[in-house]
């Protein structure tokens, strides 16, 4: 995998992610109730609305323009930490359009890491995002296809999100809860795993293929 992704392909990925979030947003809010303020599902729904709108038919055909638009409008979701962070992430990806998909994701991550000190282990979205992007990189270095890479990324994100159950929060609202955050997966990490699951579903959907890459 070192192909550039097209606007349509990324649009399908976004649509897949939006479907995933729409089916699971209640669970995201429930997770956020356990150690946060219960709004994460609602914020993710609004975030996906903005993303879909940026890739809606009739809009620009330029992936960079679409991603910039997506980033800005996700920043404008006004939903607290997660929408700001995801807005930064998509804005960072936009700046790397022209490079391959892995590089774009890496650029998004780099932008994000300028805004937050949270790293894997801190029980935040980073616990899903960093392994997912590492998986993309390994897949690319190993010559796998985009489809295969996205499959690996989704699996890594899910594993990372699941593992947050055993961590104590050190960032975001939940940090003040300390030990009480043990036993619940981090909502932000969980939604990242849904996003990557959806990216894969969306990327593969049109080709009508089965899920086993």
């Amino acid at each position: 995998m070192s192909e550039c992704i097209t606007k349509d392909e990324f649009g399908r990925m976004v649509a897949g992610a939006a479907t995933e979030i729409r089916t699971k947003h209640v669970m995201l809010s429930e997770l956020d109730c356990a150690a946060g303020d219960g709004d994460h599902g609602a914020t993710m729904l609004r975030t996906m609305e903005k993303l879909e709108k940026a890739f809606a038919p009739g809009g620009s055909d330029d992936l960079k323009i679409c991603l910039k638009d997506a980033g800005w409008s996700v920043l404008g979701v006004d939903g607290g930490a997660s929408s700001s962070l995801l807005g930064v992430f998509f804005t960072g990806m936009a700046d790397a359009v022209g490079n391959d998909l892995t590089e774009m994701f890496e650029a998004g991550l780099a932008a994000l890491q300028k805004q937050t000190k949270a790293r894997p282990g801190d029980k935040t979205m980073m616990d899903a995002l960093v392994p997912a992007i590492n998986a993309l990189r390994s897949a690319a270095n190993g010559g796998k296809s985009v489809r295969e890479a996205l499959y690996d990324a989704a699996a890594a994100a899910r594993a990372g999100a699941d593992a947050t159950r055993n961590l104590q929060a050190r960032y975001g609202r939940a940090k003040f809860l300390g030990e009480k955050t043990l036993g619940h997966a981090d909502p932000g990490a969980t939604s990242i795993s849904f996003l990557f699951e959806g990216f894969y579903n969306g990327f593969t959907s049109v080709k009508g293929e089965s899920n086993n890459a």
Binding site: W72, L75, G76, G80, S84, A174
Partner: protein, 329 residues
């Protein structure tokens, strides 16, 4: 949940509409649901902008007015607004001498305001950001200290300085000086329900209270059996005085801020004990404010804030204001 609302997704828009309509001579909504003064500040003065989640009324937009804030950027319920609207507010509050951006230390707000500052600088806007973080329950690391009702004196003194025409640097220094000299501690006894989800934001046994509880039910460290008003005031004031290192003869501003369901009756009773203790220690209580300035829905509990004042801070605290929920003649 027994709240008078309509569709949960419209809460913020509707409450802002009602707020503006109830003060048509003083408040109007501009741009993307920004709360601004009806009569903008005179050209050449420093603009003062803040941001923060909704659901804490009258905080923060209740303090927009002559002598306090120029624009507040309300987010969704308990959620920071994003950078785009903050940037819009800063552009609008640029009257020719720069903008002071006052941010309460909460993760989402800090994230948005850092992004806003980057964008504002890229646009060449003249902005200085000041962070309030006076909640001593966060430990000794300033990053872990949240911004609670201390925003009120910061808005007041910085707003007054801006109103009287002081330059941006001076307004910033005043805000920082006020910020360095204040400390807050919160206690909660009863949860609120989140107006969008209808869920209780925390649990607390029937006979317990929690010292250090944050603005949104973020847990503190001091869970204990419910105490009397006097005992509670003693415990909390003691922690605050120690942390700020207050000595006899110094002059303090004290704020007692009700969380929502705690009555003024209780706040006065608590304040009375604070006054007694300060008198006994020879510390001068020079100004006080008792009421609801930042709430968390129908949560019960209160925040106790102390701030070391100097002549100029007192003068600015006393300066006129016509903010709807902080009128000073």
């Amino acid at each position: 949940m027994k709240k008078f609302i309509n569709k949960p997704e419209n809460i913020v828009a509707e409450l802002l509409e009602g707020f503006a309509l109830s003060h048509p001579d003083r408040i109007r909504l501009v741009g993307n649901n920004l709360v601004a003064r009806a009569l903008p500040k005179a050209k050449g003065k420093v603009g003062v902008v803040t941001l923060g989640g909704s659901g804490h009324e009258p905080g923060l937009s209740g303090f927009v007015g002559e002598g306090m804030l120029d624009i507040s950027v309300p987010g969704e319920i308990f959620a920071a607004p994003g950078a785009p609207r903050c940037l819009e507010a800063i552009r609008l509050a640029e009257y020719g001498s720069g903008v002071l951006f006052i941010v309460l230390n909460h993760a989402g707000d800090v994230l948005s305001s850092n992004l806003t500052m980057e964008m504002a600088k890229r646009e060449g806007l003249n902005v200085k950001m000041t962070l309030t973080h006076e909640d001593i329950s966060g430990g000794t690391n300033p990053e872990d200290r949240r911004g609670l009702v201390g925003f009120l004196p910061v808005y007041k003194v910085a707003g007054a300085a801006a109103e009287e025409g002081q330059p941006l640097n001076a307004c910033f220094e005043i805000a920082e000086r006020m910020g360095r000299n204040m400390r807050t501690l919160a206690v909660a006894v009863q949860t609120a329900t989140h107006p969008s989800t209808g869920q209780a934001i925390f649990d607390l046994p029937d006979d317990e209270m929690e010292i250090g509880m944050g603005q949104h039910g973020e847990a503190g460290t001091g869970r204990m059996k419910l105490k009397t008003a006097d005992e509670t005031a003693e415990i909390m004031l003691d922690m605050l005085l120690k942390d700020l290192g207050v000595k006899a003869g110094e002059e303090l501003l004290v704020i007692v801020n009700g969380a929502g369901a705690t009555t003024l009756m209780e706040l006065f009773t608590l304040f009375r004990r604070v006054d007694q203790i300060l008198k006994a220690k020879g510390i001068k209580l020079v100004r006080a404010k008792v009421g609801e300035f930042i709430t968390t829905q129908e949560q019960a509990g209160f925040q106790l804030m102390i701030a070391r004042m100097d002549k100029e801070l007192i003068r600015l605290w006393d300066a006129p204001s016509n903010a709807p929920y902080f009128v000073v003649r």
